[in-house]
Symmetry: C2
Subunit: 390 residues, 2 copies
């Protein structure tokens, strides 16, 4: 009913794209299917359906099969999707490692490989070169021509300008205003889309993992970085400039710890890995976070206190997120839940106390199911989505 909605909806190009996506969706879910059945279901004219099917066939996404429709006796050429007609590359860039995966048009992961890198600003070009050559090698190994590759999807930590393909700011990678998508595209010749790793991750969990069947899901990542993302009815929630979900700098204690960002009381100063390590090292000379978890499992009081306090703050955060987003599912991912799965029980206990009563039974808290693979899968799916939307 709103005017701006009308303007968007009635835009010729938008309608055309919607119709093309609709036809492809109908083929994907009702295959094999004839042109006239598509026309009937979508209410589109035979001419328009014919044109769109031709486009999809030319693009290798759809093929005619030899099947004929049963029923009234008239034979019709049936349409199906072509899994090997299109591929996508999904890439997960983290601080110390990069994972590259190959996905087909049926969204199956064909193969993947892991690379080591040093993600510092000075080495950005080396990282780009490494990724580009690895993508090329992967396609060669699999005997797939780059003409069949829809594109590359990349998930990486930080504030990502999704529209322009720029890493605006990533403290994890040490990059600022870096045109990652363009640089990869130049080196590989493949269309590249980049997004914040947690947005891609929740797409992966939604399509293939813990969030399947839930359509209002929040993902909270707790580890070296803190962040969140939200998916609603299959759409990643992006906010105004693709930065929705920047959990780490939410204020949880208005007069609390000083954060690296200059503010006081940011959530990350209470629950991220370096906060937990900092607390632990006041008591014990541990080197890495696994030693803290081990101490908790030995029931050492100092370690129990640290993790309990973190669980309390995560529960408070869950309350705050649930109040604003009202999800039906909260997925916990990251090093904390991967290294110390017991945290879920601790969270349950704290949530009983700190979640507003009307919301207490409105959502479940579960662990990420795909762990390492969710970003690669989500990034590949994102690249495929982009391809069919253009």
């Amino acid at each position: 009913m709103s005017e701006s909605k009308h303007t968007v909806k009635q835009d010729q190009e938008v309608i055309k794209q919607h119709n093309k996506q609709l036809v492809l969706d109908v083929i994907r879910t009702r295959r094999p299917i004839s042109r006239s059945e598509i026309s009937k279901i979508t209410e589109m004219s035979a001419t328009s359906v014919g044109r769109i099917v031709s486009e999809l066939t030319d693009e290798g996404l759809v093929r005619e099969t030899s099947l004929t429709s049963s029923g009234v006796g008239r034979k019709a050429v049936m349409l199906d999707i072509e899994p090997s007609g299109r591929y996508a590359i999904g890439i997960d860039i983290q601080k110390k490692r990069i994972v590259i995966g190959l996905m087909d048009f049926a969204e199956r992961l064909i193969t993947s490989k892991e690379l080591k890198h040093t993600s510092q600003e000075a080495q950005a070009e080396e990282t780009i070169a490494l990724m580009a050559s690895s993508v090329t090698a992967l396609l060669e190994e699999q005997g797939i021509s780059s003409a069949k590759v829809a594109g590359i999807g990349i998930g990486t930590p930080g504030v990502i300008d999704y529209e322009r393909g720029v890493v605006q700011f990533s403290s994890t990678l040490g990059w600022r205003d870096f045109p990652l998508a363009m640089r990869i595209q130049e080196k590989t010749g493949l269309r590249t889309v980049i997004d914040n790793d947690l947005k891609v991750k929740i797409l992966g969990e939604y399509l293939f993992g813990a969030a399947q069947g839930s359509d209002k899901t929040v993902l909270i990542n707790v580890g070296t970085g803190i962040g969140s993302s939200l998916i609603i009815n299959g759409d990643i929630f992006r906010g105004g400039s693709n930065s929705a979900g920047e959990l780490g700098h939410m204020t949880i204690h208005p007069h609390g710890n000083l954060c690296e960002c200059g503010k006081r009381g940011c959530l990350q100063t209470y629950i991220d890995e370096s906060a937990l390590l900092g607390e632990a090292r006041k008591v014990s000379a541990i080197r890495e976070i696994g030693e803290l978890f081990a101490a908790v499992r030995r029931n050492e009081e100092w370690a129990v206190e640290i993790i309990d306090r973190a669980a309390f703050h995560i529960a408070v955060t869950i309350n705050n997120i649930v109040c604003l987003y009202n999800p039906d599912t909260v997925i916990l991912s990251g090093d904390l839940v991967e290294g110390f799965g017991e945290i879920l029980e601790w969270l349950d206990r704290h949530c009983e106390q700190v979640v507003w009563e009307p919301f207490r039974d409105s959502f479940q808290v579960i662990a990420s199911r795909l762990h390492g693979r969710s970003i690669v899968l989500g990034a590949g799916a994102l690249a495929l989505q982009q391809a069919t939307h253009n």
Copy 2:
């Protein structure tokens, strides 16, 4: 690309509804327009366009005009919407007053009136009877037959089950599990949709007020109640069970003030009207909130301190909301900004300190423009939307 999205998209009824809405949108924005032009723009078959236009004409939403298309010389019957073909009632229920408005199909407010009531559980039936008789009287006065009324839209504070039309919980009205929509529908014979008042309010601001032209807008209400809502590209953000935006019980001080809900540190205990009055009455025997604002304007230190502390906590809340929602506009509404508009400058100052730097220039904070009328307008628009979607 996701399976559940496909299932939704390809559902025959969903497609039919989408197509009907699309045709109506095209008529609304390109009127006058011919059937064949609609067919061309939407790519829909002439048969489908013809059927939908007949439905819309039968429903009195669209009419044929005597105009003919210029150009190729062939005369075509042109279509236009019919402003007086359909009306809707918008109702704003607050603690002590109810406002009822009449809106036409062009979304113009024709008339409105205000009623007093006492919103206690015991009086719920009296309130229902009062509203129903007022709606009937309003339509009679205007000489509008109820057959021409698409329905009633109601905005009211609390946790509202939008799908089922039930006020699940409203501390403002003292109602719990009250089937408001059904009761009004029984009394008036008019289809009734209810929603949380702030969700309806932001729809009003988006269509007619401060949020026009912004499509990622958050509304924060500070007064006797605390709450928020979000609109994205014209769609109200509802979350999993229509309860997104329940700001009042976000935890802002994990070990802070005890709230009526039993939790500690809820936002409302720092910024709602009764919190401010409670603080003020430790110092001065004021009766109502306006006296606090007056004392601030006289620069009395105790009053300045109270409002400054509230502004600080609102700014912290803005940071937290901006981190999660990433809006381009934050609208402040409610008694505080209506009674003390200067608060916006105080907020600016605090936001400089407490908003995470990467977000600091990503949004504007403005005051609600429609004040009292936004809920009535939004509720009427919601009722019209419902009517054309079915």
